[in-house]
Assembly symmetry: C2
Homo-oligomer: 222 residues x 2
DNA sequence: ATATTTTTTTAGTATAATCTAAATCACTAT
DNA sequence: ATAGTGATTTAGATTATACTAAAAAAATAT
């Protein structure tokens, strides 16, 4: 694995996520938006990442991630998610407070550290947002899951993850009781704007916009 | 407190240590040696640190640390030592493995993180090398201590800290059973080279060079 | 098929942290 | 008092990451 700088690691992770794990091509503008840097800066970085052979770069046509790149990205993601577990399980952070800190901690370079952290945490399989934690070889146990807004009326399931890890969104979910593991059922869908009426844990009903529902990921059971 | 870069934090910490907590003047060459950078690079950095008012810099005459600088340095040292405790107490690192990792972790910027880490660890007062951990206000409880080579024959005490935290030195101490807390007594001193014969825990006798003894810090009891 | 718009790259600049080589200052020893 | 030595600073270059402005390529619309 090539050694990557802090900035290179952040770009590579963004490419991995934007390409949906390497499946799609990623454009300069998409990366620019994601990284909050100008397209010119992205072009520059793509040249560097391409020289380190973690991406395939065809000028003007965007990038795909290489096998090597995928491995590197997955190790960074592994570290990010393990640190998030640590912060929530051990340091009593709430799930909306961990992202930015993990964004820094993920760059600490020490294989022994991450292996022992993993053991200390009891080798967790999912992070506080329900995302799977890659193992030391980069293998990910993906659970089948789909956005809540894609369920039909009367469909039910369990919340297994969230797409958006921003503090604002997670605090809203806390407020309405939509934690990970909650059982939900779609009671009604409004044709006009796609908003939903949801039954949570067979107790509370709750209305949410299509936008919100699109960021809640469900493991369907019926 | 001014915001400092990663490199600036490392220089400031080195200045704090080389000046013995702000007591002495530090020269460009001393810093150059400590930081493993060229004197020219040090001069450059001193200008920057001086602009941020964490040091007093008189060209050609070295630097002293300001009150602001001392506060910043102590916060970095606090983080470094708390992380070292975490690594040893929670992640089962040995005391010779923690320094380099803590050197990275100390730069993570999150007040809430360090406060909660402190609580999680039970607000420890000393790090694995016996060094005191500054509190959130930068107050340090210094224990009186002196290098083992300065004891007289028949003087006794307890090992409370080590000056050198290098893996090589610490592994040597492990091998001879000179851990922190061990009770020692000076049985003999060789006039010629200053080497010592030591009784450890009233059990084992052990010979060590003046150089080694100078890096072991003792709380004297007799 | 051509013109317009959008996307992307290139060129040139800036800041941070490092280096080497050259210049300058301070201290020491005659 | 001055020459020499060593320490320190300055000048100029390099690498990494970012920026703005301009040029070029690709995509879209007429
Ligand atoms: Mn990051
Ligand atoms: Mn997460
Ligand atoms: Mn450091
Ligand atoms: Mn220590």
């Amino acid at each position: 694995m090539p050694s990557l700088t802090y900035a290179e690691e952040n770009y590579l992770k963004a490419i991995y996520h934007l390409s949906d794990g390497g499946k799609n091509n990623v454009s300069t503008n998409d990366l620019s938006k994601e990284m909050k840097t100008k397209p010119a800066s992205v072009s520059d970085m793509l040249r560097k990442l391409s020289e380190k052979e973690v991406i395939n770069y065809r000028k003007y046509y965007g990038v795909t991630i290489t096998e090597e790149g995928k491995k590197s990205a997955l190790q960074i993601i592994r570290k990010h998610r393990l640190w998030e577990v640590f912060l929530v399980e051990k340091l009593m952070f709430s799930w909306d407070e961990v992202h930015d800190v993990a964004e820094e901690l993920e760059h600490i370079k020490s294989p022994i550290l991450i292996q022992r952290l993993d053991d200390f945490l009891g080798n967790p399989k999912y992070d506080p947002h329900g995302d799977p934690i890659p193992d030391e070889f980069g293998d990910v146990k993906a659970r089948p899951r789909l956005p809540l807004n894609e369920l039909m009326v009367n469909d039910g399931g369990q919340i297994v993850a969230v797409k958006d890890s921003s503090a604002a969104f997670l605090r809203y979910l806390d407020k309405v009781g939509a934690y990970i593991g909650a059982r939900i059922k779609v009671l009604d869908k409004v044709e006009f704007d796609g908003s939903l009426e949801i039954l949570v844990d067979n107790k509370k009903t709750l209305f949410m916009s299509k936008d919100v529902a699109g960021n809640i990921l469900i493991m369907q059971t019926s």
